[in-house]
Symmetry: C2
């Protein structure tokens, strides 16, 4: 197993020590974890980006099949380090081992999915218009469109998925698949997990004989490190998953550069779940417990956590709320992934609890020591909800707010007023499909994914997935950060006009004349 060094990974080398260091902490025990990790500075950022830029074009020119081999090799290296990765991630995040094991499987499968897409040759969206020499009044030249990678990409590891949305996660996988070198700024809450995943990528690059500069991992706990990465003139795109405040700040840096670059920040949402009355009346018990499960899953640390639900005033509704509350009460308090997230959760939850018209339905046995928090269910009515826009802001953690509407029209109005969402869900009986459709008609303009009779927390990694949505869910609603379409974020089109076949990129040889 790899020994942790606390050093940055710079291409095939490591870099350290430096004067300043930081330690990870076990959020379940508050125990500090060795080794110390070296704090990056602007000079180290510059070294990593220069290396990435040096090797960019060589990597961009690799055949897609060669990049597929790299992604498969990273998957294999991760699997070889499975035990060490999962154990260290467990120490650093307090997430349960089975969850981390399945997250590693997901991470590995995600890399393989991009490899398969590359092997199928689907990423380049080729378009060919052959020459029309006899067209009047002017002949048409031969025109062929392919895609080229943007350049070095800055990836920010997310704290809530230390494997699947971190160093070797979807952003890195899709950027490498596109042919972009990646400089990861590791999340300071799990630097050891980051180093181990980074070593897996480093080993894969070496074994594939690819240029070392296509991957570096920079560690740091200060915001300045991330800012200097986003502002570096040779960085050509940014990928981030995290809070609205952090995402927006990176977006602002990216778009105010002398040469602006795209910043794909996925910043979460409240993921409304609409329960229509008949389905609630017939299956309230089961739905209530499934809802409570979804709220508490992973200590609520999902971008797709159902932060609000909407119900209609009825007898079934009261039973549903009661049962959801009693199911939630049975969930033990659990540790969030780091102290900052816990503090933010408690502050935002308190603001909701203190809002006049908001009632606490249930909270599981309090254990607020260390990073522990208790799942909580709140309720309010639609009027209060609409009068207090902050109630529609994300509270990242295991709480949810039931919003009771007097009429279906009021429910539609609430839907209408919602800000941009990653997901929106409707539970409906067969007889309620018409109402469901009316809701989807509104929600389709609000969210990236619409779910029927399910919960939003599972994000399938596949071709048709959209993990994105209108602001403030993301800074770029036309993109997804999960699924094969995520590669599009890092490619741009190039058109070849009348370029002879023997100097055209190979993928453009076929078709046309």
């Amino acid at each position: 197993m790899d020994e942790l060094t606390g050093r940055h990974l710079l291409g095939s080398s490591t870099l350290g020590p430096s004067e300043k260091t930081f330690l990870a902490q076990n959020p379940a025990t508050e125990e500090l974890l060795v080794p110390a990790f070296f704090e990056a500075d602007a000079d180290i950022v510059n070294q990593a980006v220069q290396l990435a830029n040096r090797d960019f074009r060589a990597f961009a020119r690799t055949p897609t099949g060669q990049r597929a081999v790299l992604l498969e090799a990273i998957a294999a290296e991760l699997l070889e380090r499975k035990e060490g990765l999962v154990d260290r991630a467990h120490l650093e995040t307090a997430l349960p081992l089975p969850r981390l094991e399945s997250e590693l499987t997901r991470t590995v499968n995600q890399l393989r999915m991009f490899a398969q897409m590359l092997n199928r040759g689907e990423s380049l969206e080729l378009r060919i218009n052959p020459a029309l020499p006899d067209r009047n009044p002017l002949p048409r030249p031969d025109l062929r469109m392919t895609q080229v990678p943007l350049g070095p990409v800055a990836v920010f590891g997310a704290s809530n998925f230390p494997l699947a949305f971190s160093v070797a996660g979807g952003d890195t996988a899709s950027a490498l698949a596109a042919g972009c070198p990646v400089v990861v700024k590791g999340h300071p809450a799990h630097p050891g997990t980051s180093e181990l995943a980074g070593l897996a990528i480093q080993a894969a690059i070496i074994s594939c004989g690819l240029p070392e500069g296509i991957f570096s991992l920079i560690q740091g706990s200060a915001n300045e490190v991330g800012a200097s990465l986003v502002k570096h003139p040779l960085i050509k795109a940014v990928a981030f998953t995290g809070s609205l405040a952090a995402g927006r700040s990176l977006y602002d840096l990216a778009s105010s550069r002398p040469k602006p670059i795209p910043c794909y920040a996925e910043m979460g949402s409240v993921n409304p779940v609409f329960f229509l009355p008949e389905v609630l009346e017939t299956t309230w018990g089961q739905l209530a417990c499934s809802y409570a499960d979804a709220v508490a899953l992973g200590v609520g640390q999902f971008c797709t956590n159902p932060g609000i639900s909407l119900v209609l005033k009825s007898a079934g509704t009261e039973q549903f709320i009661d049962r959801a509350g009693s199911c939630l009460k049975e969930k033990p308090a659990a540790a969030m992934v780091h102290a900052g997230i816990k503090q933010n959760y408690l502050q935002r939850l308190a603001r909701q609890v203190d809002c006049s018209g908001v009632v606490t339905v249930a909270t599981s046995p309090a254990d607020n020591s260390r990073c522990y928090v208790s799942p909580t269910l709140l309720r309010t009515n639609a009027e209060t909800f609409m009068q207090n826009p902050f109630l529609a802001e994300e509270v990242f953690g295991p709480s949810s707010l039931v919003v009771e509407c007097s009429t279906f029209a009021e429910m539609q109005l609430v839907a209408e007023r919602l800000p941009g969402q990653l997901t929106a869900t409707v539970h409906a009986s067969q007889n309620e499909l018409g109402m469901a459709q009316q809701l989807f008609d509104v929600l389709g303009f609000k969210a990236g994914r619409l779910i029927m009779n399910g919960f939003p927390t599972g994000v399938e990694v596949c071709e048709a997935m959209v993990h994105g949505g209108p602001y403030p869910a993301t800074t770029e609603s036309r993109s997804t950060s999960v699924g094969t379409a995520a590669i599009k974020r890092f490619l741009r089109p190039v058109c070849y006009q009348n370029v002879p076949r023997n100097i055209l990129p190979t993928e453009l040889h076929d078709g046309g004349n």
Copy 2:
């Protein structure tokens, strides 16, 4: 023929008068043109955007076939107004009648191309992952991706193409094709042409029975009107063609909004043309005159005007430069489309002329009265070019700068240092294909379109076209503003999860289970 009123087009109505007005001017004669056009203000902007937003969803839900009928109807209405449009555009821009006639044909064909694409059902990029109920450890839900329009789009008419890149141009055509209502801010240099084109669109919308709010035309000469349009919270995207300063300022407004929106600004470039020595030696005469033609075409008012060319020091080169100069001298001075563009051209040209190491090769007979300018050819060496980065900035108008390189390595270095471009061109003989490939290897990371043995000025409207490129050519290198792919700018993906077939969007019915 429609009578010009000087009023804004607000859905199916017109709006005016207002206190402030402005007049168009004939750039060839300095004659002021009637009628007076009313200056919009923030209130009028708000009315148009509210109307667009009111009708957005109804329009978004129209079947693509119905939008195809609309685009065909706009094309037909434009053709019916052909004479009036071309005559007024000639008065307002001094562009020759034959050019304007062919520009109208291009505009009409562009609308029809989007209609055909919609009829082929290609715009939605559907992706379907059918359910896998027996998958382990968890079943996969049914997932289907389609695209939805972003919402009301602000389109800025460009001055250099009063038809093809203005009110009924590619931005409007692609936004309407996507299902987005359009609010056009007409360019103040051709308000009459704008009104006539707007009336054609208005008539088409009425004849198709579509909601009136999907198109409005706002006239104004003040920057504030455009700014209030871009800042309006209900505007969801911006499309612009014009100068770097104006484009960047709109981009900054769009990205600093409380809810940022995409701003697709196409801001031009110097479109380098590389001449390799053997092709120059054998065909210098013909190439020199074709080059001069491309420089002077349309009084140089093309985003793809060849603002610089690169040659290697040789006997052939001197003959080539001499001949290009003498061809250019024969071009008469001609009027630019408005006084501001002329002023800008003269200022930027003077800055180049005054640069130590830059020599004027030729300038056609001076006529600097009214909006007239003279085509001009300058030359310098690679060293001077690289030491003065402003020499790589666009001079919008009929001038070009020949950059002489001592060696092919120096030519490659110049290529390497170029900022982002819409196009890059290489002229090479059969024996020089290897060198051409080496140049394209660099230029592919700099430009949206690579051209072999041609000139960049013709922009074919087709599937494979890329009219875009890295900043400062555009603010969004992943997009094109010409060709069918331009529609992607105004769509975002939405995924339906386990939604029953009878309430799924029709385009998602097929495939899967």
